[in-house]
């Protein structure tokens, strides 16, 4: 166990030495890795905030329930009872008289409304369920459509569907971007380590001749790749955090202009560490590929 620990400690120390031996190269590599991870990470946080914005925007994800023109007060009472039982959320009643007044108040509609022989608008209910997912809204819409004296149910979900589709598209693009930049990170590590193996070919050759195992030779490169990736990940997390901090003020002001209390959600330690871990994993993969290919010439 002591030997095992000692070997790993030595490999880690060797990786640190190699990182600090050429600071400029290390800095450039970290910048490349950091920027490669920053773009998808920033996209992820931006989508997360958009999702939160969509969920928080009140009065938008709603169902409009229009009663038949012949619906009586008793029918309206029954609908209210049913809404109390099944719609987990808020709802409000819009009497047809109020609807007509609102229509009259609309620009250019007063004359048209005045010319109507009678109020053509039905009584209506506006339902805002707590569960505003597109599927849940659709299920509720179908249920309400089956209630007595309900003439029409309109799910105001066109934008919800569009927004959901946009989020899904964004997520897909983000995955593609992440895969692309992940491959870039692997390639950067691959090349850095290939150059290191070439530079240390004499040491590797001698070490193998005097009893170094494959693991002994490979270990410092693995640590180097993982360490470089982890540092790149931390740099990316810092860049994302800085960018969001800069954007938080203007976004808050913009939201306030629309009467929203929306604020940007900033990533915390867990997300930063996850990014570092992802960087370390990709760096390790790059190192693994590079060492496996580069060491073939020593066999």
């Amino acid at each position: 166990m002591n030997t095992w620990l000692s070997l790993h400690r030595a490999a880690l120390a060797s990786a640190f030495r190699r990182l600090s031996a050429s600071p400029l190269n290390t800095l450039l590599s970290l910048l490349v890795i950091g920027i490669a991870l920053t773009l998808p990470a920033f996209g992820y946080v931006a989508l997360d905030n958009l999702r939160a914005l969509g969920n928080n925007t009140s009065g938008v994800q709603q169902i409009s329930l229009f009663m038949g023109l012949d619906a009586s007060k008793k029918d309206l009472g029954e609908i209210e009872d049913r809404l109390r039982q099944s719609a987990n959320g808020r709802w409000r009643f819009v009497p047809k008289e109020d609807a007509l007044k609102r229509m009259q108040a609309s620009e250019g509609m007063a004359e048209i409304v005045a010319s109507l022989p009678r109020n053509p608008l039905p009584d209506a209910f506006i339902v805002e369920p707590v569960n505003s997912g597109p599927e849940a809204l659709e299920i509720l819409r179908k249920e309400i459509a089956g209630w007595p004296k309900v003439a029409h149910v309109q799910l105001d979900s066109a934008w919800v569907k569009r927004f959901d589709a946009f989020l899904r598209l964004g997520k897909l693009m983000l995955w593609m971007l992440a895969c692309l930049f992940g491959a870039g990170l692997v390639a950067v590590t691959f090349n850095t380590i290939r150059l290191q193996v070439m530079a240390q070919s004499a040491e590797i050759e001698v070490a193998r001749m005097i009893g170094a195992t494959d693991a002994f030779v490979r270990r410092p490169f693995y640590y180097f790749g993982a360490l470089q990736g982890a540092l790149g990940g931390l740099l990316a997390a810092t860049l994302v955090l800085l960018a969001l901090r800069l954007l938080a003020g203007p976004v808050g002001e913009l939201a306030a202009l629309y009467g929203s209390a929306f604020t940007l959600r900033l990533p915390g330690w867990p997300e930063g560490l996850a990014l570092a871990a992802l960087g370390a994993l990709l760096g390790w993969i790059g190192a693994q590929l590079s060492v496996s290919l580069s060491l073939r010439k020593f066999d």
């Binding site: 030997t3 000692s6 004499a202 040491e203 050759e205 001698v206 001749m209 005097i210 009893g211 002994f216």
Partner: protein, 216 residues
């Protein structure tokens, strides 16, 4: 300790460097592998040190058949040998001491203990005062002594050397011979491939004479 039976080595292209070589070496012996240039001395050294594998025959060291050994087990076997190469194979990007420490790092020895043993090995070959020197600053004889210090630092059971005096003047060569003799005196098995006949006159070792890949 070492039993070679019908060892043969044929290189790609058909050149047969060794043919049906059989011999045995007892623990604590000093054995000289001699022969003219191209006789197969270096090939036999490479087979004994597991750098290469025989194409036929068997090589048993301490009861382990090296010819049939798995590739992954070979590094562990090599640690039982102290290897001295004609071109020393020193690393010129580090100090003399750090060159000697390499086998101990491979074995996973803690740094402090490794340094203590490394300095002791340098002391044995008379290079302790030059522990911080870069090998490039050492003379040919000193470089060879440094290579010997690296070979013995792991306290190997067998010291294998390939033409250790090949690139040295007579005086430096004699000093190297004395160092090998010292290790032999304390019980280390020493196997040296060389064309230097002065070894035979000074130490009367067991001699394996090779000629065109055959043992004479």
């Amino acid at each position: 300790m070492i039993v070679a039976s019908n060892l043969s080595k044929r290189y790609p292209g058909g050149f047969e460097a060794l043919r049906d070589v059989s011999f045995s070496v007892e623990a604590g012996q000093m054995v000289l592998i001699t022969g003219h240039s191209g006789a197969g001395k270096t090939t036999l050294f490479k087979l004994l040190s597991t750098i290469e594998r025989p194409t036929a025959g068997s090589l048993v060291v301490n009861g382990q058949n090296l010819s049939a050994m798995r590739h992954s087990a070979i590094p562990h076997v090599r640690r039982h040998f102290g290897l001295v190469f004609q071109d020393q194979k020193l690393l010129f990007d580090r100090s003399a001491l750090d060159n000697v420490l390499l086998p101990l790092h491979i074995a996973g020895l803690p740094r402090r203990e490794a340094v203590r043993r490394g300095q002791a090995a340098l002391d044995k070959v008379g290079l302790l005062a030059r522990e911080k020197a870069n090998p490039i600053a050492l003379s040919g004889g000193e470089q060879q002594r440094l290579a010997i210090a690296r070979a013995v630092v792991n306290r190997p059971a067998v010291l294998l050397a390939d033409e250790p005096t090949g690139n040295l003047d007579a005086e430096s060569g004699a000093a190297i011979l004395d160092i090998f003799a010292d290790f032999h005196r304390v019980g280390v098995t020493v196997v040296v491939a060389t064309h230097d006949q002065s070894w035979i006159e000074r130490y009367h070792p067991n001699v394996l004479r090779l000629d065109h890949g055959r043992l004479m």
